[in-house]
Amino acid sequence: MTDAEPGGGNDGQRDLELIARWKSGDERAATELVERHASALARFAVSSGERTDVDELVQDTFVRAFASIDGFRGESSFRTWLFTIERRLLIDRRRAEKRRRDNTEIQDSDSATGFDALDGMVADETQQRLQRVVQRLSPTQREVFTLRVAEGLSYKEIADAVGTTEGAARVHYHNAMRAVKEFLDE
């Protein structure tokens, strides 16, 4: 997993250039866009509680994005727009999963206990502990905290991605940080 993709998420101008190139028929531009943002989308998916089919979710996000690329007006960054699409897909998935669970009457926990499948991938005990702490946050706190800490998005960008206000995003972040500290002090 590479964390520092070329250009990161801050080079919005580069994204716009690549989008323009793809629109004019350059397939390689799509590859570069995926390389720039796929890891961030995967991180967001995992930290939001998606434990399986992360590749499919990221792929669906890009497919949706490219299919409706004309709807991207550049008011937010391309990465923020991708987060918005991915978040909607996650919500759809959770609804579908809930319906399926309700139908089969199987109770499944949503947070820490279901995280065990990933434990084998993580060697460091401190990291495991931090992952569990993040999973204990409320869904909104977790989204905001992840976008702020893992992706370095501003409160404005977070507000755009999760459909809230800048002030509310700030409050969610600080509440999440307080909760994380309390969980660690337990």
């Binding site: 997993m1 964390d3 801050n10 793809w22 629109k23 004019s24 028929g25 350059d26 397939e27 531009a29 799509a30 590859t31 995926v34 390389e35 796929a38 890891s39 989308l41 995967a42 991180r43 998916a45 995992v46 930290s47 992360v54 590749d55 990221v58 792929q59 890009f62 497919v63 490219f66 299919a67 990933l118 991938m121 993580v122 460091d124 401190t126 990291q127 495991q128 931090l130 992952q131 702490v133 993040v134 905290f145 992840t146 702020r148 800490v149 893992a150 992706e151 370095g152 501003s154 700030r170 600080h174 940080m177 307080r178 994380v180 500290k181 660690l184 002090d185």
Partner: protein, 220 residues
């Protein structure tokens, strides 16, 4: 783990982590963090969380994702944007030319010496009346004098108008005035009172520096 009381600095710690601060803001935050144990601990916590989130994320298969993307739009043979813009520029230029030519023609026609006497006379009376309605900043004698001027102007224009009607050519145009009539008109115009200037006249104040003058005797 405690919270630093400086909320502004705490707010910027994730930006410091992702190197999203300006040079000056980064220097300020770093200087604070150096002397603040709480902020140092929080920054370490943020680093740990970032590392944990990265570590738990599986590697994504770029080729797998790219393979499912819709094909890029085919290159079209339609006229390029530049070519379209060039055509649009020509159209705009042509429209402007037509408008300018039409406007100039109308202006020239309006200035032609074929304007009826009555219209010119009405315009002259309007000018005279405008002079009468001089703003109140003008000295108090102005309205009387200007009213006289307006009356003289009306008489002059009426006589000239009458003469011009009788002496003008068959078309009865104002341009048919004889030289004598024009001279008479010009001399009447010269006799008209001009609107006085609105600036006050300079006032000279004499100050006696020799013997002090009582306040009651000072010129007001």
């Amino acid at each position: 783990m405690n919270d630093c009381s400086n909320a502004d600095i705490r707010d910027q710690l994730p930006d410091l982590l992702h190197d999203r601060l300006t040079v000056s803001a980064r220097a300020v935050v770093l200087a604070h963090v150096e002397g603040c144990t709480d902020c140092r601990d929080e920054l370490e916590l943020l680093r740990g969380v970032l590392g944990a989130l990265v570590a738990q994320t599986p590697r994504v298969d770029i080729a797998y994702i790219v393979g499912a993307l819709p094909k890029a739009p085919a290159r079209t043979t339609a006229p390029s944007v530049a070519a379209k813009r060039r055509w649009a520029d020509w159209r705009v230029a042509a429209a402007i030319s037509v408008l300018v030519a039409g406007g100039s023609s109308v202006a020239i026609l309006n200035r032609a010496p074929g304007v009826p006497n009555g219209e010119l006379a009405a315009r002259a009376v309007e000018v005279a009346d405008t002079q009468t309605a001089t703003p109140s900043v003008v000295r108090s004698t102005t309205p009387v004098v200007s009213a006289k001027s307006a009356a003289v102007a009306r008489e002059t224009i009426a006589s000239v108008d009458q003469d011009a009607t009788t002496d003008a050519g068959p078309d009865g145009r104002f341009g048919g005035l004889t030289e004598t009539q024009l001279n008479a008109l010009l001399s009447e115009i010269e006799r008209l009172e001009a609107v006085p200037i609105t600036e006050p006249e300079p006032v000279t104040i004499k100050v006696n520096v020799g013997t002090p003058t009582p306040l009651s005797e000072l010129p007001r």
